[in-house]
Symmetry: C2
Subunit: 289 residues, 2 copies
């Protein structure tokens, strides 16, 4: 424990800055990048995400193509739409909002997206490019975490990074990005022994497990940078209010860490900003810019 | 240091057993898998490798197709040959022996190989499938290391694995395989701080750096399993003899480790055996077996 509280890493402000830089760059490109979002069904959370994505896409000066399909849409219809978007020169990025209804094979849909338009970075071709050090479209959340870390530290070379969680969407691509940034990288997970001791090794601790406040203050090395990817809604308390917490026990952690992302307002806002960033990257790459 | 020396992991014997199992399986498949090897130029070491691969391919009962091209072969000619092999139904695996002459872009050639026939596991599609937990053709050397480890330990779940080296051919796919096997995985490399201390954490230490005897005995946790991927030829000594050593100082390490692969005779023989294994895997997958 230290006398001062950890610096709060302001992802909301960084994301706004990233969007502003994109908005400033786009008019000079000579073309208008376009992002297509496909939403199948009526999931309320997904509808909010898709609305926010479309709004921010337009705000930075890109074209937004929304495709809202009813829940009973067949897999063949979704695959046909993706094929159309793959062929559409106005579309630089394609995002299929997950989860899809159960009768649609999400893996099959994601594999159908042209890797050059795969702005979520979920296609195995992009995972493979990332894993082999080639140019890739990188999953948005870990890319956002990397940007926050590099903004804070500059070079990360030689730092010891511990990632808790090994999902394809966050943990594994985060490991690749931190390895490329010359960190010593450890991936820990549910089968790891003595997780507190593993976490205490970290100069950079990335929590991506989806378990509310699992990582306690005494798991953190004094002065470490803590990136909390978790967004967990707690059940309502006695007053009927529910609140969002991360995978890290924030109040404990901020007395030990050197810097920490809050929840909300830390990693969360970076995800859509990085989606827009990826769409511009894809648009330039497709045109050989 | 312990009173007894480490158990020597006999990769030569394990590889012979693996080849025998393949030889026993192949006649029951109903088809004869085929492996095509492309060698461009006269590199003496490559010629030895290719001869050994062809010989072992035939010995287990598969067809071997050798394509030896002169050093002045153009890139276009190599790409055309790969396209022919991609289309040839008798060819289940394609291996282009590296290094290629400087005027040929090796990445371009490897990207041209049908991922379903990429028995070296170097294509980004296979790297991406491995990285996302899908079925993949896995690079032969790390696959061989995993087989030796699982033969020795059974389940590796919860063990702490440290990999020294982050190449696309060994270190990175090794990390993916050990993560899939539920190890806690750390990747260390030239920019890592205090490598001896990092190595001393390892229940499983994989050395893949290509530096003779870099890893000393006192870097090893007593009882750990040490997998030495390095094959380094030392300069001739006073008597004019040169000898092969690994990345681990074997004489020191075997007084501390619980088990260790010797060099030669450890990991080395596993590579071709796993190439044959991958060819059978690819042949079955292509036919939906």
């Amino acid at each position: 424990m230290t006398d001062t509280l950890a610096r709060r890493i302001d992802g909301k402000a960084f994301a706004a800055g990233l969007r502003a830089r994109l908005a400033a760059e786009i008019p000079s490109l000579g073309f208008q990048p376009g992002l297509a979002v496909v939403l199948v069904g009526e999931d309320p959370a997904s509808q909010v995400y898709v609305r926010n994505k479309a709004q921010q896409t337009v705000e930075v000066g890109m074209r937004s193509f929304e495709h809202k399909l009813p829940a009973e849409t067949t897999e063949a219809e979704v695959l046909a739409l993706v094929a159309t978007l793959n062929a559409d020169p106005a579309v630089d990025g394609i995002l299929v909002q997950l989860p899809l209804p159960k009768h649609i094979d999400a893996d099959k849909v994601l594999l159908t997206i042209d890797p050059a338009k795969d702005v979520d970075g979920f296609h195995p071709v992009n995972a493979g490019r990332l894993a082999t050090g080639a140019n890739a479209l990188v999953p948005c959340t870990p890319l956002g975490c990397l940007m926050l870390l590099q903004d804070l530290h500059g070079s990360l070379a030689g730092m010891e990074a511990v990632i808790v969680g090994r999902s394809n969407i966050v943990g594994k691509p985060m490991a690749q990005l931190l390895l490329k940034a010359d960190c010593t990288v450890t991936i820990a997970h549910s089968r790891s022994r003595d997780l507190p001791a593993l976490c205490r090794r970290a100069d950079i601790l990335v929590a991506a497990v989806g378990r509310p406040e699992m990582i306690r203050g005494d798991w953190i090395k004094p002065g470490a940078t803590v990136i909390d990817v978790g967004i967990n809604r707690l059940p309502p308390d006695a007053s009927g209010k529910s609140r969002l917490v991360g995978d890290v026990a924030f109040a404990e952690a901020e007395t030990v860490a050197g810097a920490i992302t809050p929840v909300p307002g830390g990693v969360g806002p970076m995800t859509i900003a990085c989606l827009l960033h990826n769409t511009v990257t894809a648009a330039k790459a497709r045109r050989g810019v």
